[in-house]
Symmetry: D2
Subunit: 307 residues, 4 copies
């Protein structure tokens, strides 16, 4: 069971634009894909946390994937999240994604019930056995309430189960430990999901970035990545510094709603303000941003030179 | 929008028996329902955490519900869990449950992304609006990582959104606060999901018990409930004391696997040892109990007078 | 090494009144002791969390203890908190407390560095060996970030190390488990530190109550305890219900300050309003209550019939 | 109120050697200071977590500080931890440290009772007002269970309250945010307490390292720092990589004892094996390492080329 590599570079987790009635807005989704591809991203990640995967019915997930695969038309690989609570449910999503043209899969540790590393290993092994696509582990403790142990990542990489890692844990020590633990598997790809220490993650040997904020400013993240690739750390850090300040827009609604609701609302509002998508509607039960919060999003865009 | 009451008493969250190939074992499921009804339970809760709902495909969830509704045949109400991450996905399960004969619904707060009370309110209101069945809120912070605020429960009860609460938070102060906050809604039903302080929850005004361990010893929980109802607290507490000791069987595998995996494995092993179900198979990625752990389950049954 | 019993009943953790310059206000402290003794408390607990022990210099702790021991003059036992991070520091406080007339000691698990049950056992054994006074374990995870395992409490009780437990964990299942684990030591005393489920803790076999709110309404807690002792649960629960509502005063400043700062400020403000102490000053770095918050304290007192 | 700077570079938190009877072993302490100074450290930090400050009586803290100040004799600055629960107690330690020759102070946020940023601000301001020495904030959430907000650090730096930060939070995003928030105060010094991402902390603009492991291999950390200072990131990262592997020795006893007990035991055992100190005795209630664990420490030293 050989694992192909997913590409190095910036692979944004694509937002899912809706109409005000919460139908899929395919035209906006295609404009968003074009916007990302124009900026030079290396792949597209559909059905991630930023794509509101947890909020979409199975049918809607499939339609989003079909639209993105169709639009990308082979220009860059499309990887698909198979986000669900446990093994059998994840496998069902993974099979649907394979059927609809995904080039790779992204799955988290099991969640809902408290879990254990022995169960996480069974989980990823069963998914990989069921669907023959490169499988990336998605380490996102804020959602699944488990941190993937780096030695387990190393073991599953060595066994050809995992082709890569998307690390959204915020823990750069663990990211580095995972890179160390997979050093014997040259095809393995370690991506950071961090918007705010992407530069350090690349210093530490990461292969790419999967930033939610990359929807709003894909060119910025591509510049950061390219600077890092040519070893120009001052340029990479200057870009990171600008993006760190921009990233503060995720908190515009925090307190009045959850941070996720605020972040997705801010990403979509920013995309609307930048003329990429038509509506900033988010899924139920998220709370819409109010006028004051939208004004704050606009200010963040201006300060980052994006408006 | 008037909310009918669900019954007072013991409503066990029914285990889901499998064949060794992880197919639904309908004969075992029917024997389990008979075993529970014989013991005098007031209702059956299908698709809860103990029923491995988080581990079942949509199709399997439906077949379990159909089997239980069919077997119960109106003798007691059947309430169905609609366990999923967010509003739209929960509504899809809720509609399926209504179609297949559920008498009530059980839903948690949204999970996966961090949430907020304002979003929890939107969530329950949207579910209730979408499906006209009594709706019980399932407060299970170990799974969803939010505690339902008691004042929100009160508000949603007053508005006819929530017909009841299943409190598996382990926090008896919060349970009591929820009972206080819903005192103005006489039809509201507050159930404890605790196996170990059911007596105190009834002292504090609770209407019933939804105990996972009630699969293994339904007669014990019915005795506890009946003693409490007639005000015989010493008898209720003596029964509780025996059940507390029995409940220690949930930990037989803990450390080698997660506590949930250990608990469900122990419940099913106990049901097999008691002759109720045929196999103790659990869902992927749970770890099966080993011989030493099974022997410990057997000892717990013996000490509780169940073998 | 035989452990004497501490008394059953209500043992309030005595507040420490200050002058506006944060000097000890001995006259107010004596009036507070008189107020508590008049209400029928079974003992006085000096140097607990409510007494701001963590905020007092060693010298001030000693002067508080001397004042209370002197005023109590043997009418009831005085137990003293020896609150500090680790064994040797706790022993120093314990020796000082013994020298100044304490009848018993209260110590938490070690804190600051993360700890382990094996270390907690060494800790209590060393304290008990160093100072020959009845030793109560103080289980307060919100402060020390460890929950005392009930089996460890049982082991240390059986060995004569612990004479009792003050359980401020909020976890009534653990309280009950500790009572079960110490059933073989008839002299052992299990107190709840909960203001809001004292009735249930007594139902479950507890010997007494150590309520911070007992400074404000000692008579209420004594009534609750006496009703429970004579088996009049409806009366105990009615009293508990009133005290639960009163206890909400602890949150008057929450959000603008920490909950502890709010609670201690509210207790002292209430004692001043009831004419027991002269000033409501709290220790640095706590934030004083503002006028709106003080008005809320007053309202809570009125609603509880205390003003 | 002007704040002098503490030096850039490596400032190890000095271990406290004991005799087997847990008396201070002054000769070992002086040999340890000589070992650190020979390696080129920029300062000595006495009374930190690694120095078992939380475990030492006031008298012992003073004797440790006197010994180190006397030995250092002005060659490098000596900063002293004033580790205690709340403001008044910290001020007492700070005054003692000033009296006995400390060149700077290190204090954490208040702990024991849950706290709030408004209280943390009052705390540091009061300490700074009470003792005229450069004051470093010690951000150590594993001990004090609060994360210092970076904007608060910025505000206190701007007001001359804080002269620096020791960040042992493990959160490099927060470290970077604190550096950003204090950019307007050129004398401010930001140290990382991380043994495993010191290189990245220096990439991100940190001024120095305060590593517990720096007791065992001070030369390694000085090499890392010097490489970073001259911009030789590959050399810095290679050194970091070796030190990361060495740092695994902190876990030799974990599980049988707490991680802190294991780490301090391992540091002291390594120092004994390297011939620097005479005994590896730790404070009560820590658990001593056993032979298997000591052999593991020896192996780690060998693999790091230190034995």
């Amino acid at each position: 069971m050989a694992s192909a590599s997913t590409p190095s570079g910036v692979i944004p987790p694509v937002c899912t634009p809706f109409t005000p009635e919460r139908e899929l807005d395919v035209a906006s989704l295609e404009r968003l894909c074009a916007f990302l591809l124009d900026a030079g991203v290396a792949g597209l990640f559909v059905g991630g946390s930023t794509g509101e995967a947890a909020y979409l019915t199975d049918d809607l997930r499939t339609r989003v994937l079909q639209a993105v695969v169709g639009f990308a038309a082979g220009q860059v690989p499309v990887v698909a999240g198979a986000i669900d609570m446990t093994t059998t449910r994840v496998i069902a999503h993974a099979r649907a994604a394979q059927k609809h043209g995904a080039d790779g899969l992204v799955a988290t540790a099991p969640f809902y019930s408290p879990t254990h590393p022995a169960e996480i290993a069974v989980h990823f092994r069963a998914i990989r056995r069921a669907v023959d696509l490169p499988l990336l582990a998605y380490d996102i403790p804020t959602a699944v309430h488990t941190k993937l142990p780096s030695d387990l990542v190393g073991e599953l990489a060595a066994d050809g189960v995992l082709a890569g890692l998307k690390d959204s844990s915020g823990n750069i020590d663990g990211f580095r430990a995972a890179i160390g633990a997979t050093a014997g598997v040259p095809s393995f790809r370690a991506y950071t999901g961090s918007e705010v220490h992407a530069d350090l993650a690349l210093v530490a040997g990461g292969h790419g970035i999967v930033p939610g904020l990359g929807n709003v400013d894909p060119a910025g993240f591509v510049r950061l990545y390219e600077a890092a690739r040519r070893g120009d750390w001052p340029a990479a850090m200057a870009e990171q510094d600008r993006l760190r300040r921009l990233f503060a827009l995720v908190g515009v609604g925090d307190g009045r709603m959850g941070l996720y609701s605020s972040a997705i609302g801010a990403f979509k509002a920013a995309l609307r303000m930048r003329g990429v998508i038509t509506h900033a509607t988010t899924s139920l039960p998220m709370i819409p941003l109010d006028d004051r919060e939208l004004a704050s999003v606009a200010r963040h865009l201006e300060e980052a030179g994006l408006r």
